[in-house]
């Protein structure tokens, strides 16, 4: 499969949205930015499908339903019932952008060293999303931001599968997509229970677990 270079545009835009999500203090806006990121993922799948892997049309539809619509709806519902603004993050805005930039550069370099051409770039984007998701889960205090970090993992994994695992049975893709939605659903449930008890979604204030005796 020879992919055209313009696929790089929505792929790189996914990294930009990941960085914007990391820095966005309003959690409802962050959820909507994730919806945009997932739409870009679906566009990448469609463009790949148009150049050989026709089964990726189904992946694009699945991404729209699960990641563009369902997951953001679940997160927006959680934000509406809890808090709309993130607590002050551990790292400031500039540091977050710098760190995300380093992750993006490292991811793309790794991808291009593993595979050639546009496939290498797509693999690099997926690794970048993975790394940015990991950073976001570490330096952002809000449980919603941690869930969004997971969402970056999911999108990164999905892109990796599309690039490196052609010809996977459809059942596998359905399983992985279902898992993505269920993870956010369960995460939202737990976050909501935490909110009911602690009245905060700041994970640095969750410190009730102590050894007894």
């Amino acid at each position: 499969m020879t992919l055209p270079e313009y696929i790089a545009v929505p792929a790189i835009a996914m990294i930009v949205t990941a960085m914007l999500i990391s820095d966005e203090p309003r959690l409802d806006r962050a959820a909507k930015l994730y919806s945009l990121q997932s739409t870009l993922l679906a566009i990448v799948f469609v463009l790949m499908a148009l150049h050989g892997d026709v089964y990726l049309f189904a992946w694009a539809v699945s991404a729209i339903i699960t990641k563009t619509i369902l997951v953001p709806l679940i997160l927006l519902r959680l934000v509406k019932r809890t808090e709309r603004h993130e607590s002050r993050p551990i790292l400031g805005s500039t540091a977050t952008w710098l760190l995300s930039g380093v992750c993006a550069a490292a991811g793309i370099a790794l991808g291009l060293s593993s595979l050639r051409g546009v496939e290498g770039l797509l693999l690099g984007v997926s690794i970048s999303l993975f790394l940015i998701g990991l950073i976001q889960m570490t330096v952002r205090r809000s449980l919603v931001k941690q869930l969004l970090g997971f969402c970056h993992f999911e999108n990164g994994s999905h892109l990796t599968l599309a690039v490196m695992a052609p010809g996977l049975p459809e059942t596998v893709e359905i399983g992985i997509a279902t898992d993505a939605v269920l993870l956010i659903l369960v995460g939202s449930f737990v976050a909501h229970v935490i909110w009911r008890f602690y009245r905060t979604l700041d994970y640095t204030r969750l410190c009730m677990l102590r050894e007894e005796g």
Partner: protein
């Protein structure tokens, strides 16, 4: 042979039906019990009729002696948990009255039973991940501190599983590059992949992910909190079977893909560190549930050590490798039953004394729960006639292949034994002035679980020593 396949599918189907039936509150407990009984009986039939490999549904599911054995393992834990539900459901701690509580327990067992049979590396991952998510929900259900424990569980295991997915994708892509047909199936990969840097990298990613889920060092931090704060049947599920399943999946994967010598060394090191971490944790805690949670870390370490020896010695000393596999299977089954029972028993004691503190429970006064629990603790410590004594002895024999490994194994096993024994003496010491806070009778179901599991554990020891053999699974 197809009898074994049909019986195993019946085991899965019974758990699925139990899940649906238990959505009705009136039928929840009875449906769980019925599902568990049918599942156990079907697994036994599958085990007795299996010989060689049979696959179905485009080779997506397979039955072999090893898989049938593990099907029975999961079913027995399912049976123990289902037997305990009448006691704990009656108590009805906040959150456990939720409509989805018992269906989620049944659904988790259904997923795990399917995982045992799955031949698709990605579906194994999906089933493990889904069972993790269900148990996160079950841990969080009590609210408060439990929700904090559930969040830690979700984040740490979620990251781990993401790493393992990358590893599986790498394995798949190597399979495609080497022209293997259907490289998502374990049976297609067996003996066909060549050793390379990519397969090494893939294996390391998979081990990194699955070791976190199994509660091995250094990714064990979620385990003590999740085990301690979960409702008691859920602790039994976690301790009995859920943390074992990643090691079972790793066993199947390492049988199919090339295993570099470095991988065995890394797993052995993680294993020894896990055993020592478990021992240290057991000594440091005063919480009865955390005590047995750290004991689980120790025992997962022992299983990982046996797995490392099994794959590391293959091709070099086949007899010892076979012995390691036998010890692995024996340890897995005995630990699953003993640990699930222990958490059920500790749950009963927590209800009676309204505390989990070791110093505030007069366990010896509660003879119907205390004494069987004491017997289980001795079994977990590896004291004869425990099957764990046999498996740990075999582990020492296998470790003797390398002097350094032998020394590390002896030191770590002794540390684990000493830690649990010391804490057990503290837990079971007579404490004057401590009274039971609640006299409501919950003894019958819990007593049934504890005594049944003692009988099963003794039966395992007797059958192993008397030479019962299951080809490729256990037997001298």
């Amino acid at each position: 042979m197809y009898h074994a396949m049909y019986a195993s599918m019946l085991a899965v189907a019974s758990a699925i039906i139990a899940t649906i039936a238990s959505l009705s509150r009136r039928l929840a407990v009875a449906a769980s019990l019925a599902g568990a009984v049918v599942s156990t009986a079907s697994s036994l039939v599958a085990l007795l009729n299996t010989d060689g490999r049979v696959c179905m549904l485009l080779s997506e599911v397979c039955i072999t002696p090893l898989r049938a054995y593990n099907l029975l393992l999961v079913s027995l834990v399912y049976l123990l948990v289902a037997l305990s539900l009448p006691a704990f459901y009656r108590i009805s701690v906040e959150g456990e009255g939720r409509r989805l509580y018992i269906p989620a327990i049944n659904a988790t067992f259904a997923l795990l039973l399917l995982l045992v049979l799955s031949n698709n590396i990605f579906m194994m991952w999906v089933l493990l991940e889904l069972s993790t998510l269900l148990t996160v929900y079950l841990v969080a259900i009590r609210g408060g501190r439990a929700s904090e424990a559930a969040w830690k569980y979700l984040i740490i295991c979620g990251v781990g599983m993401a790493f393992s997915l990358y590893g599986l994708v790498l394995i798949y892509s190597v399979g495609v590059a080497e022209g293997i047909e259907a490289p998502w199936l374990l049976t297609s990969l067996e003996g066909r992949l060549k050793e390379s840097r990519l397969t090494l990298l893939a294996t390391l990613f998979i081990i990194a992910g699955f070791s976190v889920k199994a509660g091995l060092f250094p990714g064990y931090m979620w385990l003590p909190d999740a085990y301690a704060e979960a409702p008691h049947p859920v602790s039994a599920l976690l301790g009995g079977v859920l943390t074992y399943m990643p090691l079972y999946s790793l066993l199947l994967l390492l049988q199919a893909i090339p295993c570099h010598a470095l991988v065995s060394v890394i797993v052995a090191v993680l294993a020894i560190l896990s055993i020592l971490t478990g021992a240290a944790g057991m000594l440091a805690t005063r919480d009865a549930k955390r005590l047995y949670a750290y004991s689980s870390i120790e025992h997962m370490g022992i299983l990982a050590l046996l797995l490392a020896c099994y794959r590391g010695l293959q091709g070099l000393q086949e007899d010892l490798a076979g012995l390691a596999l036998v010890a692995f299977n024996l340890h897995a089954l005995a630990h699953a039953i003993a640990k699930a029972s222990v958490f059920i028993g500790v749950g009963g004691l927590e209800y009676i004394f309204r505390t989990r503190s070791i110093d505030e429970m007069d366990v010896s006064a509660e003879k119907w729960i205390g004494w069987p629990l004491f017997a289980h603790t001795l079994f977990l410590a590896g004291i004869p006639p425990s099957p764990l004594f046999i498996s740990e002895l075999l582990a020492i024999l296998v470790a003797a292949a390398d002097p350094l490994l032998l020394l590390a194994t002896l030191v770590s096993l002794f540390a684990g034994f000493a830690a649990l024994s010391l804490q057990a003496m503290r837990l079971y010491a007579v404490k004057r002035g401590v009274r039971a806070a609640c006299t409501r009778d919950i003894h019958a179901p819990i007593k049934t679980c504890l005594i049944l599991s003692i009988v099963v554990l003794l039966a395992i020891t007797v059958s192993f020593l008397s030479g019962v053999e299951l080809k490729g699974v256990w037997g001298w």
